[in-house]
């Protein structure tokens, strides 16, 4: 065991945070320069904690290029503390496939953990390939639910503590729920937080920012302090990430149904949503989507178009990605004085 290297993957999506929500809501613009800075801050602490090598996406104009620049031109004392940084050998298509492919490669190379930087969408893509490899999630923006909003240094620290074995993974990692869907028995996909059914015919500009086209909503968890679609059921019936069930909500036309909830469905947007039904859903309980024609929005973005001829099914599973709870890691580190040196006097 001692001669094997400790490796960590970092997937930073340079394309995240540029969708139409910047226009139709007050979603934040997260500069790629800051994503690179976050990576650099993490590299410093990962090196100090004994991580030997970090793997990254080789995007030439985005996050990686600035990391390369900093490593070439930065202060020597700082750079010498970095782990070895290796860029994956893979073609870049400038699409979600890049993050998926990177995750597959990192898993096959046996990295200890993968740090994911992006929004719900990026995390969803990575979760498709991460399997048993634990993820540390880092939100780059304001309109996300699944990843944590946190200073990257601490996420890097937690990743280093777990990867180097200074904190035991099994005490701090847990598996998440997922919502799975399939169209006509094939075309499978998944959502980490919410799966909305919309009467919008087209994927179009992807985001779903109006409640009027929403007909059904499935959530794997529902936190009342979250932004986005999951806030609708969350403000009626909160469900934690660890509860062994999710929720299904049927939207009623405005003013109808049995209640109306004012929900923050997008940054800066509080809208009334009328509710016809809300119920708990158990794992593997399969629901046929009732809407005849429209799109499925996975974690807030329209991804799948379907018509009258398609049969669309949705269900909850407990076998989602494994994530590391940074809070728990740091508590364990504190409890066991992992980052403490005692002075003899």
């Amino acid at each position: 065991m001692h001669n094997t290297k400790t490796t960590v993957g970092i997937i930073a999506n340079p394309l995240s945070g540029r969708d139409v929500r910047r226009l139709v809501t007050k979603a934040s613009v997260f500069q790629n320069a800051e994503k690179s800075n976050m990576v650099l801050r993490m590299l410093g602490v990962l090196g100090k904690l004994g991580v030997d090598e970090v793997f990254m996406l080789p995007d030439v104009s985005g996050v990686a290029s600035r990391v390369i620049h900093a490593m070439r031109h930065g202060r020597a004392a700082e750079i010498s503390a970095f782990p070895r940084v290796t860029f994956l050998e893979m073609p870049i298509r400038d699409s979600a496939d890049d993050s998926l492919r990177a995750a597959e490669l990192m898993v096959s190379m046996g990295v200890s953990v993968i740090i994911v930087m992006g929004g719900d969408g990026t995390h969803r893509v990575v979760a498709n390939a991460s399997g048993d490899t634990p993820l540390l999630t880092l939100s780059t923006g304001t309109n996300n639910v699944f990843p944590e909003i946190r200073e990257a240094t601490i996420t890097g620290l937690a990743a280093g503590l777990v990867a180097s074995g200074k904190v035991r993974l099994k005490d701090v990692a847990s598996r998440n729920k997922v919502l799975r869907c399939e169209v006509n028995g094939s075309r499978k996909d998944m959502a980490l937080v919410d799966l909305g059914v919309s009467t919008e015919c087209w994927i179009g500009a992807r985001a779903l920012w109006e409640a009027s086209c929403l007909t059904e909503l499935f959530v794997s968890f529902a936190e009342p302090d979250a932004i986005g679609l999951s806030s609708i059921p969350a403000l009626i019936h909160p469900v934690s990430r660890t509860d062994a069930y999710g929720l299904r909500l049927v939207v009623a036309p405005p003013g109808e149904g049995f209640m109306t909830v004012e929900a923050p469905i997008a940054p800066g947007v509080l809208l009334p949503v009328s509710v016809a039904e809300i119920s708990e859903v158990r794992p593997k309980e399969v629901f046929k989507v009732e809407t005849a024609r429209g799109t499925l929005a996975l974690d807030g973005e329209r991804e799948i178009e379907f018509s009258e001829n398609d049969s669309v099914k949705v269900w909850l599973e407990m076998d989602g990605p494994v994530t590391v709870d940074v809070n728990k890691v740091m508590l364990a580190a504190a409890k066991h004085h992992v980052l403490v040196r005692h002075h003899r006097n």
């Binding site: 394309l15 087209w202 178009e305």
Partner: protein
């Protein structure tokens, strides 16, 4: 999110088909040597001009580029006149004196193709300022390329538009290349839209090969501008199927790059597949449009070939406008 009805879909398809057939035909005609001057073809990028201009009226203004045929057609400029103009004939949109890079039709709000890369920015700001003074909700759209995004004119226009809160949409057509220079070589950010933050305006990137994505995002940006919300930078990522200009061998593109794009990213194919799968239009309806458009383009070329050249007497007319 405005709903697209059947007639809207058929109209959008017709426009995209007109642009495609027009460009494919100009490609062929150029090879015969009958077209004077340079032509830059828009084939592959049709969903961008069409998705944007679907939201505009003749009172809205657009500024265009050296690759302007698509913008013209989407803005409603007469195709017969355009073809004649490209052939340099007296019956052309500008009496045959402008050619491909100067086609304009002020009545349609098309302020002109433009051979100066980045020149559309200041012109668009002027049109937007006029619209703001008129107060009738008019907007201007500045079409510009990834290469043009580095021009001072474009960046200064974005600055001006934001300090004056002008109803203008900066429409970046990112087709991956400025002549032979790859966008990753000359733009330091992964998206051109990233630059919007520096001007304090929304910056959005969409798939420019998907009409529906362009239509939706452009619709929101235009609505915002009409309502006094100010400028937006909207980037559409797309591909051009032909060389930078006719005669360019495209040695800077990877082998098979254009072939793959034609197979996987053809906006017309994507549109037809989606619209028919949704059950809103039929393949037969689209085929009927294909036939009508083919006949129209034939007619345009026949008329252009038969038309007279401008004469010496035309040389000094329309050069200056006196106010």
């Amino acid at each position: 999110m405005a709903e697209l009805k059947k007639e809207d879909l058929l109209k959008a398809y017709r426009t995209m088909r007109e642009i495609r057939d027009f460009e494919e035909r100009v490609h062929k005609e150029f090879a015969t040597g009958k077209i004077p001057g340079f032509v830059h073809l828009y084939a592959g990028e049709e969903a961008v001009a069409t998705g944007v201009c679907s939201h505009l009226t003749d009172d809205d203004r657009i500024t265009s580029t050296h690759r302007g045929h698509g913008h013209c057609i989407a803005k409603g400029v007469d195709i017969i006149g355009m073809m004649a103009e490209i052939f340099g004939k007296k019956t052309g949109s500008c009496c045959g004196k402008g050619g491909s890079m100067h086609i304009a039709d002020l009545e349609k709000g098309m302020l002109g193709a433009n051979g100066i890369v980045g020149a559309g920015g200041p012109l668009g700001c002027g049109a937007a300022l006029a619209a703001k003074f008129k107060g009738k909700g008019g907007v201007a759209v500045v079409f510009f390329g990834d290469g043009a995004s580095n021009q001072g004119t474009i960046l200064e226009s974005m600055n001006l538009a934001n300090i004056w809160n002008l109803p203008v949409i900066f429409l970046a057509e990112n087709n991956g290349y400025a002549e032979s220079t790859g966008v990753k070589y000359n733009v330091p950010t992964p998206n051109i839209a990233d630059r919007a933050a520096g001007f304090n305006m929304p910056g959005v990137t969409v798939d420019g090969n998907d009409f529906f994505a362009v239509y939706e995002a452009a619709g929101e940006a235009i609505k915002r501008a009409r309502e006094g919300g100010g400028p937006t930078l909207l980037e559409c990522k797309t591909n051009r199927f032909y060389g930078h200009f006719e005669g360019d061998a495209m040695t800077y593109k990877a082998p098979g790059e254009v072939k793959r794009q034609r197979e996987e990213c053809d906006c017309l194919k994507i549109f037809a597949a989606k619209a028919t799968a949704a059950g809103l239009v039929t393949a037969a309806e689209l085929e009927a449009i294909d036939k009508e458009v083919a006949a129209l383009i034939d007619e345009a070329v026949e008329k252009a070939l038969a038309a007279p050249n401008p004469t010496e007497a035309d040389l000094l007319t329309d050069v200056y406008v006196s106010y």
